[in-house]
């Protein structure tokens, strides 16, 4: 049940978990529906999982053949777009009792679709993949519209500017290409290369721009990831958010978490008061959800939590959804007891960005 919180002032320092929606596999992505009634998540299975927030009722949509890595809603209609590790995209009427794919793109990308977005006018779906491509599709039909060519490596993140005409896409090498959506070549490129590390003895590039978000005014672009990565086996690094001035493209601030954390910032959301929320993945031992003022460097509030992969702001601006893992405590190196050998679980935690109603009502001690 959702607490009756009407009228409580927005205050990220009072953030608390109002609901934990669990699944039997880790959850990789999540978003609130534009109607505000549902939260939907993709998992380390082939399902798309929808929860009705008021009741907690869960419905799973079948259609994917691999893990679902990203999703996005049509901003006005009832369409949901989900993408998977085999390159497939499905469109669903998300509010149906038992949704089935309305249309599908079996091979939107050669390999994983890593990020999915919808333009603010709702006309175009945008997907980004490990095949270096950013692609535009008609939301109504799934027909291809354009192929944005410019990245030279895996594309990990997308964000649409509030002007409705401009897209930012971030890649493994730390390049953020800025696209005018009427053109297929990048208009300019921002430098976030500090978010990728290739040590002398690494066998692979590690890191990349794992998340992107614009503020409401469109004056700032935040890019999440990690710096100073230690290797290509555990892949831990120092979490970082790069805040760029949008007009100049210059790096304005590098934000760091206050809590111990060792993976990339995988989820970003600007709040109504201008604060920035960032969700960390853990790659060694710890991760957190933290809040920054964009002109600060250290967060003003931090919540330690399990590894997270995706963060989304509710349309009411007062709740965050964070998808991630729930550690069931059994794992590690070596042999196993087969009776206990099951996957870790996942959850979407709904955080309220204000005080608890009861605490707010409680009279202050004199």
């Amino acid at each position: 049940m959702i607490a009756d919180d009407a009228g409580l002032p927005l205050d990220a320092t009072k953030t608390w978990a109002t609901q934990t929606l669990e699944h039997d596999r880790p959850l990789l992505c999540c978003a609130f529906s534009p109607c505000g009634e549902y939260v939907v998540a993709g998992a380390q299975d082939e399902g798309v999982h929808r929860w009705q927030l008021e009741s907690g009722a869960k419905t799973s949509f079948a259609g994917h053949e691999s893990w679902v890595h990203s999703l996005a809603f049509h901003p006005k209609g009832k369409q949901l777009f989900t993408s998977d590790f085999h390159g497939a995209v499905h469109c669903w009427n998300y509010a149906d009792a038992n949704p089935r794919p309305v249309w599908s793109i079996p091979a939107a990308h050669d390999g994983w679709v890593v990020a999915t977005a919808v333009t603010r006018d709702g006309k175009h779906l945008i997907t980004a993949g490990n095949d270096t491509r950013v692609r535009l599709w008609e939301t109504a039909t799934g027909k291809p519209v354009a192929d944005l060519v410019g990245h030279e490596t895996e594309v990990y993140s997308l964000a649409l500017h509030p002007d409705g005409k401009t897209l930012a896409s971030g890649d493994l090498h730390g390049k953020i290409h800025v696209w005018n959506l009427s053109q297929t070549k990048p208009a300019r490129t921002l430098d976030a290369t500090v978010l990728m590390t290739r040590g002398e003895d690494f066998l692979a590039d590690v890191g990349g721009v794992r998340s992107l978000a614009f503020n409401a005014e469109g004056t700032l672009l935040a890019a999440g990831g990690m710096t100073d990565i230690k290797g290509n086996t555990f892949c831990p690094g120092t979490p970082a958010i790069l805040v760029f001035d949008w007009d100049t493209g210059k790096l304005q601030k590098t934000l760091r978490p206050q809590k111990k954390s060792d993976g990339p910032i995988k989820g970003l959301a600007f709040l109504a008061d201008g604060a920035l929320a960032g969700l960390g993945e853990h790659l060694n031992s710890a991760s957190s959800l933290e809040f920054w003022k964009p002109d600060g460097e250290t967060s003003f509030h931090a919540i330690g939590r399990n590894s997270g992969y995706s963060l989304h702001l509710h349309p009411d601006g007062r709740r965050l959804a964070a998808a991630g893992i729930v550690n069931n405590g059994r794992g590690g190196n070596g042999g196993v007891s087969l009776e206990e050998y099951v996957s870790h679980n996942g959850s979407v935690v709904i955080y309220a960005l204000h005080d608890k109603p009861a605490a707010a009502a409680k009279p202050k001690a004199s």
Partner: protein, 429 residues
């Protein structure tokens, strides 16, 4: 002493006791002789067998390579693809190797005991006979001892690895330093292979005489230990290689050849390995580190597995085209596999319970899979094979009968492979 593993845990440290044990074993090899039968030795010499041993240090995931389990609880996000052998599937990450399954044998039910790098690596590479009180030789050293000593003036056991090279006498265990590995850092020849022009033949001979004299003095003083042996043997090997500088001349390689293998370290090192095998080196080991994907397993396997798929396929083709697969045994393996269970870092941990080894070439049946794992990949469904089974199989493939051949260490007969194990006949030709 540490190995360059990323875990950094105590599991990854080599103990001082172990190190001292190795040195003691190397020093105590006086009087050792192999008991290979004369007929077997003659036949092995006739066949002129060689080995390519590829070691992916840290543990490649069997689920992202040779034993995929798509759409299962622990299967991960990758597809499986058909191979050139009907009914056998590999991960989509190894399309080139999949197309050459008809040249391979895969053991899918390796079931070893040690989940640690520091102890698991030597156990596997030494074949791990238990409770013998000596350090057994790594496979390359064992074969240097058991096979007829090469007459081509090339070291019998060469090791191409990242980082620095040198003489790895510890590999020889109780056999003694002579049977150690000459390691080529980054596949390059030992440093100072090229004598400066300022040193004439006469000067060079004079300084070699001095070196030999000093060594003999050391020995006369009773300091005949493994370090002196190792120094002498490494110098002899360097002298031999000075006559074969052509083996390291990269200008003779065509761009097409380099492209086929790939520009990454494994590509370059496997191409160098082919050249050494062509020259007649008996045992060539190629090591690649950092396959220990505890975090971000799927992005990392996506980046790393093609780095073995491509050059492994290229060298299989080249050995096949040159008619060498008849006498070159190819082994591709790690110290263990990776956990089916995906950990909280989206990684996979160490898993000795059910993992895979790939074989090809001399003495190996082609197009076969030995063993089957359960549907979720957690356990072996039928047969389970330990390192002892694998070493019986490798010796058999080389024409050495592991049931009748023994080492003799200071009058102590020692089996060359674990007595309680036997060969995996499904993969033997």
């Amino acid at each position: 002493m540490t190995h360059p593993y990323a875990c950094g845990s105590s599991e990854h440290a080599i103990s001082r006791r172990r190190m001292l044990g190795t040195l003691a074993g190397a020093a105590g090899s006086v009087g050792l002789a192999s008991m290979l039968s004369p007929a077997m030795a003659a036949e092995i010499k006739r066949q002129n067998k060689q080995v390519l041993f590829i070691w992916l240090d840290g543990g490649i995931s069997q689920l992202e390579s040779w034993d995929p389990k798509p759409k299962t609880e622990f299967g991960g996000p990758f597809r499986s693809i058909p191979t050139s052998v009907p009914g056998v599937h590999f991960s989509e990450l190894v399309p080139e190797t999949a197309a050459r399954m008809d040249k391979l044998a895969v053991i899918r039910t390796m079931h070893t005991e040690d989940p640690n790098h520091s102890t698991g690596v030597p156990k596997i590479q030494r074949g791990s006979p238990k409770n013998r009180g000596v350090d057994y030789p790594f496979l390359g050293s064992a074969l240097a001892k058991l096979l007829p000593w090469p007459t081509n003036d090339l070291p019998p056991y060469m090791h191409i690895k990242p980082g620095r090279g040198g003489f790895q006498y510890q590999d020889a265990g109780f056999l003694g330093a002579k049977y150690g590995a000459l390691a080529l850092g980054e596949g390059r020849p030992p440093i100072h292979l090229y004598r400066p022009d300022s040193i004439s033949d006469e000067v060079d001979e004079a300084r070699n005489d001095l070196r030999r004299f000093v060594n003999s003095q050391y020995r006369q003083q009773g300091r005949r230990d493994a370090a002196v042996d190792a120094y002498e043997y490494s110098f002899q090997m360097a002298e031999q290689l000075m006559r074969r500088k052509d083996l390291f001349d990269e200008t003779v390689l065509s761009p097409q050849e380099v492209e086929r293998y790939g520009a990454h370290p494994l590509g370059r090192h496997l191409l160098q390995a082919r050249r050494l095998l062509e020259a007649g080196v008996q045992f060539v080991k190629v090591t690649s580190y950092h396959w220990d994907m505890h975090g971000d397993n799927f992005n990392m396997h996506r980046a790393l597995v093609p780095q073995i798929d491509r050059p492994f396929s290229a060298i299989l083709d080249d050995l096949s085209d040159r008619g060498m697969l008849d006498h070159v045994l190819v082994v591709l393996m790690s110290e263990f596999g990776r956990t089916p269970k995906i950990n909280t870092r989206i990684g996979r941990d160490h898993y000795p319970n059910a993992w895979s080894v790939v074989l090809a070439g001399a003495g190996i049946k082609t197009g076969v899979v030995a063993g089957k794992t359960t549907a979720n990949g957690v356990a072996c469904d039928d047969s389970e094979y330990d390192a002892g089974h694998l070493y019986h199989t490798l010796f058999q493939a080389m024409g050495i009968d592991p049931l009748t051949t023994e080492y003799m260490n200071n009058a102590q007969p020692l089996p060359i492979a674990h007595e309680e194990c036997s060969s995996i006949n499904e993969v033997l030709a």
